[in-house]
């Protein structure tokens, strides 16, 4: 059994190495015809740029992706340098009309990577492009096979069903040891490349082109790779959840739910919508987590898509304003955060082994409240500015330029906070960094949960022995024990209702439940089981 897990680990690492190494493989050799198509598609008539790209890319030996990318960006930069110097010249000469006429020929630096990606997508040659199926087997195939071989023997190795956290704090993977740091470095690098240097991973998109074509009729983008990888990782790690918590039906049902919403609602349906020439939409992704829902390009795309576009527009608004709060009233924010949400889904599957790293200190709770509510305000101000500018045609509101604030939010919150830090730091800061400190939707749900919801974690009278398992394994950093040992129900805005505190409790003290609002919050000083008179005396307010 043990040998099987080592074999699995070896196979998994082989798959991961090939996957990572595939970035460095293959050649990129752009044909003139493809360049012409590209230029036509983009409507680029600027001759200088055409010449620069041609001389950088055409009739060359096949290059690696890094050379190819820097050649493209070099050509774009040369183009910009040329026009920048013209602009400076005309500026000095005070020829304003001529100066103004030059800007259209510049390429926005933000688009360099996207253009490099598009060209590389056309230029790929060699083994990967010619053997996409084989490459899939060597990367995804080996990865999945190895991971499952590593995970499935746990059925036997973990022993009889029950809570098995033996050795969590003895392992370099789950106790912030060298494995955890390696994983952190890999994940952070992965997100930085994915968000900011997507052209480097164009080879990964080749591997998934056949699947993407079958689903949507389009070649795979880096976002398709991310979505597909996300589903694969969640599925494999859900198997681990099913085995680890096989005695706990709440965990099994919940895991199945997040898996369904990720694969069907977040991944398949948007792809199928694309194939039907509809705007792709993730029907569960609620604003303000879906922060670009009210961006001008999205509104325009929806409005121009006929009936389905309008339906999505109305659905998106109703989802945030009606469905989300009503569901939180009845079930707590768990219905979203740990049953439906994609970020939550990854945290609850891939991240489960790191849940114990969330800080339980009072100071972290204070930081949490400042940060998450700031992000909520940030997202609302951004949306307000965007909508004002959309409807009035202005470019800024209350002194805030719409483009600037959208861009700042997308990079700082959308990419760095939610992605690089949110997931990259799993192994050190726990699996819910984003959900706890950053997610504006979680902040909104939290208000409803704290002030108007039937959900609570009931503490079972006087049974708590203050052991600390609940607090240790709370992924949201709630000091659950602080409430349980006072016989007090846990009613906290940040609780995502994962149910692990209840699962790890050795004395049956905690139960997630939805019940009447009366008595939901029940502070006590003397716990049940003592002198009745004393309890009444001390607990009376």
């Amino acid at each position: 059994m043990k040998a099987l897990t080592y074999l699995g680990l070896a196979i998994f690492l082989t798959g991961l190495t090939i996957f990572t190494g595939s970035i460095f493989l293959g050649g990129f050799n752009l044909q003139e015809a493809d360049l012409t198509t590209f230029l036509n598609d983009k409507g680029i008539e600027n001759e200088l740029l055409q010449t620069e790209l041609k001389s950088a890319l055409i009739d060359k030996e096949p290059m690696g992706i890094f050379d190819f990318s820097s050649s493209v960006r070099g050509a774009l930069q040369k183009n910009n340098d040329h026009f920048d110097s013209l602009i400076a010249e005309y500026d000095a000469a005070k020829e304003w009309d001529k100066k103004g006429a030059q800007y259209q020929y510049r390429i926005n630096e933000k688009d360099f990577r996207a253009m490099s990606f598009s060209l590389a997508k056309k230029a790929g040659v060699g083994f990967i492009v010619e053997n996409r199926g084989l490459m899939w087997l060597l990367t995804f195939g080996l990865g999945i096979l190895g991971a499952l071989l590593f995970i499935i023997p746990q059925l036997k190795l973990l022993g009889p069903k029950g809570i098995k956290n033996d050795g969590v704090y003895h392992s370099a993977a789950t106790n912030r040891g060298w494995i955890a740091w390696l994983v952190l470095i890999y994940l952070v690098a992965f997100y930085i490349v994915l968000y900011f240097m997507a052209d480097y991973v164009v080879n990964w998109t080749f591997i998934l082109d056949p699947i993407s074509n079958a689903l949507s009729g389009n070649d795979a983008s880096q976002w398709f790779v991310y979505g597909f990888l996300y589903c694969v990782i969640m599925t494999v790690m859900a198997v681990r959840m099913y085995i680890k918590y096989r005695h706990n039906k709440y965990q099994i049902v919940r895991t199945t739910s997040v898996l369904f919403f990720q694969i069907v609602i977040a991944f398949l349906i948007p792809e199928i919508m694309t194939s039907l020439n509809m705007p792709a939409y993730d029907f569960k992704n609620a604003f303000p987590l879906d922060y670009d829902f009210f961006f001008d390009w999205n509104l325009e795309s929806l409005i121009n898509s006929g009936g389905i576009g309008l339906f999505i527009l109305v659905w998106g608004i109703v989802l945030t304003l009606v469905i989300v709060p009503v569901m939180v009233y009845f079930f707590g924010k768990r219905w979203y955060c740990s049953w439906v949400c994609g970020c939550g889904g990854l945290a609850e599957t891939l991240g489960d082994g790191f849940r114990q790293h969330s800080s339980k200190k009072m100071i972290s709770w204070k930081l949490e409240r400042w940060l998450i509510h700031s992000v909520l305000v940030f997202s609302l101000v951004m949306t307000l500015v965007t909508l004002y500018c959309y409807f009035t045609g202005e470019s800024s509101f209350i002194g805030i330029p719409a483009d600037w604030i959208k861009n700042t939010y997308s990079v700082l919150i959308g990419a760095w906070f939610a992605g690089v830090i949110g997931t990259g730091f799993y192994p050190i800061f726990g699996n819910r960094v984003w959900c706890r400190f950053g997610c504006p939707l979680a902040a909104y749900l939290g208000f409803v949960q704290r002030f108007k919801s039937r959900f609570r974690i009931t503490t079972n009278g006087g049974q708590c022995i203050s052991c600390g398992n609940c607090s240790t394994y709370c992924e949201q950093g709630i000091d659950v024990r602080a409430y349980a040992q006072k016989g007090e129900n846990i009613v906290r805005s940040s609780c995502v209702g994962c149910g692990i505190c209840s699962a790890v409790c050795p004395r049956g003290v905690l139960k997630l439940e939805n019940g009447p609002l009366d008595g939901r919050i029940n502070p006590t000083d003397v716990l049940l089981g003592n002198d009745v008179d004393l309890m009444t005396l001390v607990n009376k307010k």
């Binding site: 139960k511 008179d533 004393l534």
Partner: protein, 447 residues
């Protein structure tokens, strides 16, 4: 403002300190030789097993004590000089008090077995014991077998701990069935089977004879009294119960029995000296309880009561209905009210066990009226508040079972067994009770 000194920073001492602070401005000092800060003794096992770090067992962050003006002193108390109202600390320091609370806990029992003080022989009570076990049994290479002597709650915890590091364990239990002094036999037997299913070498009905030393004075084997069999091992866990930790008070003038004798006000025979928790011994058990109760919950309750007395609201220790809980490897256990291993006179047991052999309940009731006396539940969680209320109301077992769905405390989506339980009950007593649907109104209505 008085200076209240508490010896012992366990649940009893800390609870009394917290409540005194809520009620008054008295100066409070807690003295402990064991650790700087309060930790949950019951959680020590999880540190060895790697579920938690020692830090996680501390229920309050370190700033808590200063913020609440509770002074912590790390020292060992040699003796109490009550005539001069002072403590003598090791190192010669004298420490004055106005009122003294003894919350000094227990020590593991040793019954004079030959070899009981050898290296590699230990109990599991204190933080120091945990450190010792980490040194004695870091893995299954350094420790290729351990023998645990004594089939109680600490014994089975120690078994579970060692198993988590894949160390083979022999478990010597004096009774013919595990914890049968407390549990009805059918429950003990279910636990026997559960323990064996974890590949424990469970020896029922056997006593330790002696522990044999190797040439370095380290335990190398134990011998069994009944058979003379020699079991080679490197670690011996002595878990045959605990006794009040009162040796240091022998000549202090404070009245001792097995523990520190106290009245229901938790006062000793000496003015301004009180005792609570494991170390306190009532002259007579209160409400049918034992004179010494070495349980987490009772320690806390004594602390809650004594704080009132110390803050000018004299309050006797008057616990409510008995309750307790434990976990035997993968099977959780709770109890409400009284269930004895053999029903008390005039009482009878109703027992139900699930075919998976990991869930069962036993209800003790009056034979003639079927008045509900208590329940043991294994593998099913039940609501403390409801059982406490039903006991106060003196409900019948018929009523309790009819409303059992209200009391279920298992996580959502778990299978329910009320129907099964009731059909067994109806069969046995010729009743026709149907389980009532769960009602929030009943659950949250006050008695």
């Amino acid at each position: 403002m008085k200076h209240i000194v508490i010896i012992g920073n366990g649940i009893s001492g800390v609870t009394v300190a917290r409540h005194i602070r809520k009620l008054s401005d008295h100066k409070i000092t807690i003295i402990s030789a064991e650790t700087d800060h309060f930790f949950s003794r019951t959680a020590l096992m999880y540190v060895y097993m790697g579920h938690m770090k020692f830090e996680h067992t501390k229920p309050y962050e370190n700033y808590f004590w200063k913020k609440n003006r509770i002074e912590l002193k790390r020292a060992f108390v040699e003796t109490v000089d009550h005539e001069n109202k002072q403590l003598l600390l090791s190192g010669g320091e004298k420490f004055a008090y106005d009122k003294l609370v003894l919350a000094v806990g227990s020590t593991p029992n040793k019954f004079g077995w030959p070899g009981q003080d050898l290296d590699g022989v230990q109990g599991l009570y204190s933080k120091q014991d945990l450190d010792k076990l980490e040194a004695n049994a870091p893995n299954n290479k350094a420790c290729n077998r351990a023998v645990i002597v004594g089939g109680g709650l600490i014994g089975i915890e120690m078994v579970e701990m060692l198993l988590s590091r894949k160390i083979p364990v022999t478990f010597l239990v004096r009774e013919n069935n595990f914890w049968n002094g407390v549990l009805p036999i059918s429950e003990s037997q279910m636990l026997n089977r559960h323990i064996k299913s974890h590949h424990v070498d469970l020896r029922l009905g056997f006593n330790l004879d002696s522990i044999l030393a190797d040439k370095n004075g380290r335990a190398r084997a134990v011998t069994i009294k009944e058979t003379g069999e020699e079991i080679p091992c490197n670690v011996v866990g002595l878990t045959a119960g605990v006794s009040p930790n009162v040796a240091f008070l022998k000549d202090s003038g404070i009245e001792l029995g097995r523990g520190i004798k106290v009245n229901p006000m938790l006062e000793t025979n000496i003015k301004d000296v009180y005792a609570i928790g494991d170390c306190a011994e009532q002259h007579e058990g209160i409400n049918g309880r034992r004179p010494i109760e070495a349980v987490w919950y009772t320690g806390r309750m004594m602390g809650e009561a004594l704080a009132q007395t110390l803050c000018d609201n004299p309050t006797p220790y008057n616990p409510g209905h008995w309750f307790n809980s434990a976990k035997f490897m993968d099977i959780e256990y709770q109890t409400y009210g009284w269930v004895f291993s053999n029903p008390k006179e005039g009482n009878t047991h109703f027992h139900w066990i699930h075919k998976d052999d990991d869930k069962c309940i036993t209800i003790e009731m009056e034979e003639s009226t079927r008045k509900f006396i208590g329940i043991n539940n294994f593998g099913i969680r039940l609501r403390h508040e409801l059982f406490d209320r039903w006991l106060t109301e003196g409900q019948s077992t018929d009523y309790v079972l009819e409303h059992l769905k209200d009391a279920n405390f298992d996580p959502e989506f778990y299978s329910h067994y009320e129907k099964d339980i009731l059909s067994a009950y109806n069969n046995k007593y010729g009743t026709a009770i149907q389980p009532k649907k769960k009602s929030w109104k009943r659950i949250f209505s006050k008695a």
